[in-house]
Subunit: 148 residues, 2 copies
Amino acid sequence: MTRKRFDDLDCSVACALDQVGDWWSLLVVKEAMLGTRRFVDFQQRLGIAKNILCNRLNRLVDSGVMSKVDAGEHGTRYEYRLTDKGRDLFTVITALRQWSERWNGNRDDLRLVDRVSGHPIRQLHVEGDDGQPLTVRDVRFEETKVGR
Amino acid sequence: MTRKRFDDLDCSVACALDQVGDWWSLLVVKEAMLGTRRFVDFQQRLGIAKNILCNRLNRLVDSGVMSKVDAGEHGTRYEYRLTDKGRDLFTVITALRQWSERWNGNRDDLRLVDRVSGHPIRQLHVEGDDGQPLTVRDVRFEETKVGR
DNA sequence: CCAAAATGGTTGCATGATGAAACCGTCCTG
DNA sequence: CAGGACGGTTTCATCATGCAACCATTTTGG
């Protein structure tokens, strides 16, 4: 059986997971944010199998998260770069990173700092219209179409 | 071969993905945030196979994202509830939802609003020390241990 | 200029994960 | 008391993954 598709769930979260919700995709994107662009570099830094990496890069290109551009002068060297859509995943990856650091401890050897000030970045918070932080208990899920 | 584990990658993002990075886990958490607590309800609302749901719920309980509490008076009825760690994934799920709405269009029939004011919530932004919004190009990844 | 290595893959195989359906013991309900 | 709800477990066919080997082209070192 093929993996169940999430497109039909009428849920933006499911739709997002359909594009970047597998074990490797977000790590590839995160690695790209660190500056990695070449196939071999992704492979070595992540320790991912070549066929899987190939599959993931193709899927990320297909869904518009990354683009494949010629790097060599004559043809078979390429670079994989983030598109705007891919770079916009920065928020998602930062949210994941901060959550993991809060609950699993800091297993990372990297620290994100503002490039100009050198200060660490703020914790992400869901905020209301007035800027007040909101937890999941503070929000309501309004139905806009038909009831469940 | 067993799935490659991400624990050894010395990366908080990888560590997070190890806990909630598969196709179903985040959807189960999102469904729990909508108020779902019973096994059958998760199964029907998500359309997930029972054995997979069972496996995911157990893993989420093991990693401290959800808890399993007796609901029936005499024993074999249970409720699965989010822990504080699980509720804290609200930021991650909101980031994913907003990203998907920005780039894939709004496929959702839900709208998140502040429970008290009724206003929609703000877009999440990574911010610097001073509150200025930062893109991935505005940050630096400082190494705190040994070089790569 | 030639040999060797790098690059970006593809293929085959063994094993693990997934989805669908059937089955099962306990509990509640009419 | 019978039937259904609940929360699973088991079986099986198929798909995904990890690993290693292989390959055509391109670049690089001597």
